[in-house]
């Protein structure tokens, strides 16, 4: 059982959390169907560093996680408005 460090609740068993998907750039509201479909369906799904939305189920606290999907290592967790989030995710990563 992995431990995930929640910015609100501290380190907890990962079974207390749910992954809500990759952090993606939202298209402008007037974007076309193809852009929206791309946003909704297409995943980077990297084998390596990813940036994702997670929620702590018991407290409904939503935050952001950088982790490595090859090693299952958590790199860092962020509050949603953490200024550090403006930094890129590292090699091959997107914001």
């Amino acid at each position: 059982m992995k431990i995930l460090n929640c910015p609100l609740n501290g380190p907890r068993n990962i079974s207390e959390f749910a992954c809500l998907g990759e952090v993606k750039t939202v298209p402008p509201p007037d974007a076309g169907t193809a852009d929206w479909a791309n946003f909704v369906f297409t995943e980077r799904n990297a084998a390596g560093l990813v940036r994702e939305w997670w929620i702590h189920i018991a407290t409904n606290y939503v935050f952001i996680v950088d982790r490595d999907t090859l090693t299952e290592e958590t790199i860092r967790t962020y509050r949603v408005n953490d200024p550090l989030l403006s930094q890129s995710l590292g090699p091959g990563g997107t914001k």
């Binding site: 992954c19 791309n38 799904n45």
Partner: protein
């Protein structure tokens, strides 16, 4: 005792026939390169060589032969899907499976056991009826049966109405079968190799060579090779390889775990699945109970095991079979599944010319191995997808079109 065994027994001093081929150096040019030496890739190579006369085919496998999900799946074969396109597709797969041992001259141990999908809620009863009706309409043997009929087929099940999730009925699919999964891949590999297909193991693809928007070859850990057409069939690495080719997929990659019990004398004939309890179980011909459940809760490319998977699965196993409490789990493992938004695969052309894809098989790729091989070979030979696999095109998502298996796929084995 079959004659072949007697013959082999008496000439035991002679060398055995080699089943798998000796690996050759990688050539510079092929007609077709298939990335991924799992069941789908090997089957495609076989059908290309056997029925389309395309024999300059190289299958490239990163690890050992068929060591990905082909080696890790729980080997259940069925065609009781919900959508007409799904049913038609898997029905063809079953009919190919039935004659596959003879086709490949290798016993894949196709064992028809009957497949029971238990319904514990009235919503599950409705879905079961829907699947049964669609199946029957398309000539596939399925029916919604009552607890009394379930008792007749599997008297060991806990059919008490006092259970936490009482069994209200089941979708019964007599053709449901288990197959020796490794044997399918080995059989295709051996038969393809006899026809001249080259199989390269320990050969990792590191890049796709393109000329403009046209794929013309691959870079590998063992050198570069060119080909007229390229197919990627790499469950568990689909997004990664597609990225090399220059496009992205609607796929999330998630582990699916399974485990087996110690070997037991046969007591369970049918394959039992419960969507509400997230359990599926069958007893292998070795006597082990082969058990699985739903996919892991978050994306991952690591095939590690978790304790909580087993804890949940066993609690539910004992709901169904309370008398197994003292039976022991012997081994657990994981495969890496590529999940699509609509629980349906992606087959066909890609944004890159001459580059075809077979991906998104989630947790049910094994049961499609023969039909995939046959139809993908047809596609590669003709340069366009046959009608049977047209609905599964990658570009369906661009138009917000999804295939309707989503409704019935909570546990899709």
């Amino acid at each position: 005792m079959p004659f072949k065994l007697l013959r082999q027994g008496f000439r035991r001093t002679k060398a055995l026939d080699r089943i798998l081929p000796v690996q050759q150096p990688l050539a510079r040019n092929y007609d077709v390169i298939i990335i991924g030496g799992g069941g789908h890739g090997l089957a495609t190579a076989y059908y290309l060589a056997k029925y389309h006369g395309i024999r300059r085919v190289a299958v490239l496998e990163r690890g050992y032969l068929a060591g990905g999900n082909t080696a890790r799946n729980t080997a259940i074969v069925r065609s009781n899907y919900l959508t007409p396109e799904g049913v038609a597709f898997y029905a063809e797969s079953i009919s190919l499976f039935k004659t596959l041992s003879i086709e490949l001259d290798f016993n894949i141990m196709y064992s028809e056991r009957g497949h029971l999908t238990l319904a514990h809620t009235d919503a599950a009863i409705r879905t079961s009826r829907w699947r049964a009706e669609v199946n029957k309409h398309l000539g596939v043997d399925s029916e919604l049966i009552s607890p009394d009929e379930i008792r007749r087929l599997c008297p060991q099940l806990n059919l008490s109405s006092k259970a936490r999730y009482p069994i209200l009925g089941a979708l019964y699919h007599p053709p449901g079968a288990v197959v020796r999964h490794d044997a399918v891949a080995w059989g295709y590999a051996a038969a393809a190799a006899r026809l001249g297909v080259e199989i390269h193991v320990d050969t990792a693809v590191t890049g796709i060579i393109k000329d403009g928007n046209r794929a013309i070859g691959v870079k590998t850990s063992r050198g570069t090779a060119h080909a007229e057409r390229i197919l990627q069939a790499v469950a568990g690495s689909s997004s990664h390889v597609a990225e090399m080719a220059g496009f992205r997929l609607p796929i999330r990659t998630i582990p699916l775990q399974a485990c087996v019990s110690q070997p037991l004398k046969p007591f369970l004939d049918p394959i039992i699945v419960s969507g509400s309890l997230h359990v599926y179980v069958s007893q292998s011909s070795r006597g082990e109970l082969v058990m699985g459940g739903s996919t892991d809760p978050y994306p991952l490319y690591a095939s590690r095991s978790t304790l909580e998977f087993k804890e949940g699965l066993m609690a539910h196993m004992l709901e169904l079979f309370p008398f197994l409490a003292e039976i022991k789990v012997m081994r657990q493992w994981a495969g890496i599944a590529d999940m699509t938004p609509d629980f349906s695969p992606i087959m066909g052309v890609t944004p890159v010319d001459n580059y075809f894809i077979d991906a998104g098989w989630g947790t049910w790729g094994f049961k499609a191995t023969p039909v995939c091989g046959k139809r993908l070979a047809e596609m590669i030979a003709n340069g366009r997808p046959p009608k049977l696999i047209e609905p599964f095109a990658l570009n369906r998502f661009q138009r917000f079109v999804q295939i309707g298996e989503r409704g019935a796929a909570s546990v899709g084995h």
